[in-house]
Symmetry: D5
Subunit: 96 residues, 10 copies
Amino acid sequence: MLFQVEMDVNIPLDFDPEEAAAIKAREKAYSQGLQESGKWRHIWRVAGQYSNLSIFDVESSEELHGILMGLPLYPFMTMRVTALCRHPSSVREDDS
Amino acid sequence: MLFQVEMDVNIPLDFDPEEAAAIKAREKAYSQGLQESGKWRHIWRVAGQYSNLSIFDVESSEELHGILMGLPLYPFMTMRVTALCRHPSSVREDDS
Amino acid sequence: MLFQVEMDVNIPLDFDPEEAAAIKAREKAYSQGLQESGKWRHIWRVAGQYSNLSIFDVESSEELHGILMGLPLYPFMTMRVTALCRHPSSVREDDS
Amino acid sequence: MLFQVEMDVNIPLDFDPEEAAAIKAREKAYSQGLQESGKWRHIWRVAGQYSNLSIFDVESSEELHGILMGLPLYPFMTMRVTALCRHPSSVREDDS
Amino acid sequence: MLFQVEMDVNIPLDFDPEEAAAIKAREKAYSQGLQESGKWRHIWRVAGQYSNLSIFDVESSEELHGILMGLPLYPFMTMRVTALCRHPSSVREDDS
Amino acid sequence: MLFQVEMDVNIPLDFDPEEAAAIKAREKAYSQGLQESGKWRHIWRVAGQYSNLSIFDVESSEELHGILMGLPLYPFMTMRVTALCRHPSSVREDDS
Amino acid sequence: MLFQVEMDVNIPLDFDPEEAAAIKAREKAYSQGLQESGKWRHIWRVAGQYSNLSIFDVESSEELHGILMGLPLYPFMTMRVTALCRHPSSVREDDS
Amino acid sequence: MLFQVEMDVNIPLDFDPEEAAAIKAREKAYSQGLQESGKWRHIWRVAGQYSNLSIFDVESSEELHGILMGLPLYPFMTMRVTALCRHPSSVREDDS
Amino acid sequence: MLFQVEMDVNIPLDFDPEEAAAIKAREKAYSQGLQESGKWRHIWRVAGQYSNLSIFDVESSEELHGILMGLPLYPFMTMRVTALCRHPSSVREDDS
Amino acid sequence: MLFQVEMDVNIPLDFDPEEAAAIKAREKAYSQGLQESGKWRHIWRVAGQYSNLSIFDVESSEELHGILMGLPLYPFMTMRVTALCRHPSSVREDDS
């Protein structure tokens, strides 16, 4: 099942830069593991923003929730979640 | 260059149903031609809405604008356009 | 899988009252069939509004989308869809 | 009488984690006591958010207010309260 | 139980003035009957607007919903409903 | 002259509880004095919120402003002020 | 007593131009009469908009409401009303 | 040239009261100097808010910007600026 | 003096296409005349929208207002006007 | 390719003034270098705000993103990015 998730990241100005760098490194590894497993299908940067637009392919809302709660940057993020379906005009069977 | 485009369709209640069906058929053919050419990379339906979430891969804003103005349903649509970039955490070279 | 769906109904002032009554009767039958099948788990009226708050229990976003598109009142409705999960504090196993 | 209550939780980044854990444990016990008494009829997690959607069945607005003010997490919450009624299409007598 | 209800009235420019006058006369009679029964405790005009601010004292959300649906001007109105409680600083026992 | 005033109170999480209690006690005394004088005609709690809905009966905007600026909790409040009039459908001469 | 009133005018595209011109002429005469009486202290055009920003000096909200309801363009207007006071830094006694 | 400027002031709760008083005194002197020069034509208090509504009469946007940046309270303010014109219905030549 | 003006155009679906084409032709000629005179410094299309972003260089708000009111498409437009100044970091003397 | 970028700057009240001055000096140098290279085509100050309106001319969204992320004031900024196209009514070939 597909979900669009938009994530805005906001790290406070006075947050320790080393700790921030460590969290971002964990975030990258976490995201790449999920991309390789196929759960996190797409991730794009929004131009000019510390935000991403992602597409997840999961079994259920519970699985999505678990993945998002596990994001190392989750405490710094604001999220918008939208449930998606296959579009009747899509030419791709595997892009449902 | 990638753009996210969200399109909401709103056909008036009293619009002629046959004309609406003809416009939708032209819209589907137009969309599928662009999907096959690779310009319209993804199209998903937003659950519960007469709306789609699409990803376009075009040469420039001008090309995007021309494609969107050519949509048979354009006069019935509201659009939100967002410029995207490759994300530094993406594992896919071809998903920039 | 659970979804919250909020539906606002807006029938134009000059819409034929008999046709409106017929559509509402079909809407009621359609809703009750889905309630009896367990797909439409709850439906409440929002006090003072021609709106409802509903909980659906479906297999997927696609199934939800199909159900909502089939609503006889769909052309008169504005919808907000929210994906839900079981809450870790819930005492009810069957209310996930 | 039924009320929908949407609760968003926002604990500051620098709040003591042990104190937060203790408050959350009290919150869970408080919620479960009210669920068992039938006052807090439903609680669902909103996918991707530290938010819940709840349905309360109380005698009056005063009772609802007292329950919500007593939430251990109340100082960290933003609330939206909506009064609900039985829906004329509902098939359930006990879901008024 | 007390509810604040804010009502905005919007009669289309081309609505028949005689019919509008008849509806407004019925609205006034309906409102005054409910004021005399004590259900509609207060009604004030919002300065500069075709809107009112009202306080209702009813048994339940269902009773409120029934009263509001019965308003002759209901099809022309937008409503905002807010559940109220006695305030702990109030000096009036009868203003709960 | 009547004004509706909606007041939302927001005391920071780390504000000294004793000082907060002292300010609230002064607020209550201040409010009750004005209620007894007839200036602060009504005060209701908004269900689920640390907010009130109040009706003031004052000589002028200046008098209202002076009263509101004198609220011990004013530095913690957000306000919305709306000028009201007697409603032509009101049955109460003394509720103008 | 002073009030700021912002008025946006929106005449439908298909409204009869002669009737519109007649209403605007009555509006101008009505406004100028009130300006000369001192009730309508200031009127400015908002650049680029069919909107004005006005300052009224009236006895009460009731008087303001009566004046605004009497505007020939009132059925085409959206209004925002804000109660004003003398500012403690003002150097003008007569500009309260 | 005329501009409407709405200024909301928000001084943090923990800001030093003596320093705040000194800034407010400088603000008052600065404002009164500009009022006397005719640049700051009107200043009114918004009832119930720590906000003002002002009318400036300046040579250009640059002059306005310079004046506003010079406000001692500027770092504590949120501003909304609207360009105004003479209204065709105005009876005052000097109130352009 | 510089102003940013954002213009959204919305021609009703059932508006006569020939009349629309004639108005658009007049709009283009009007715009190009003002561009050549230097009053309308820049005009860009917003990608995916029937909207433009324009920069005007005029003597005053009055001149701007007159120009905008003269737009043949004005009755179909929604506008947002923002006063601009030279930026202290700008390297261009002639771009103030 | 052209983009409109609106940047609002918000430096906390308690930020070290010398450090702020140093960042602003770096920002100015950075901006002027990009202006001279032609990437940052225009920059204007929004009257009354610590905000600018800028036009960028870049190869791609990626290039824009890189430029914006490099702004010394980026951590203090909120951005809105809009993709622009040549307007069909523009008289300037070089202003696409």
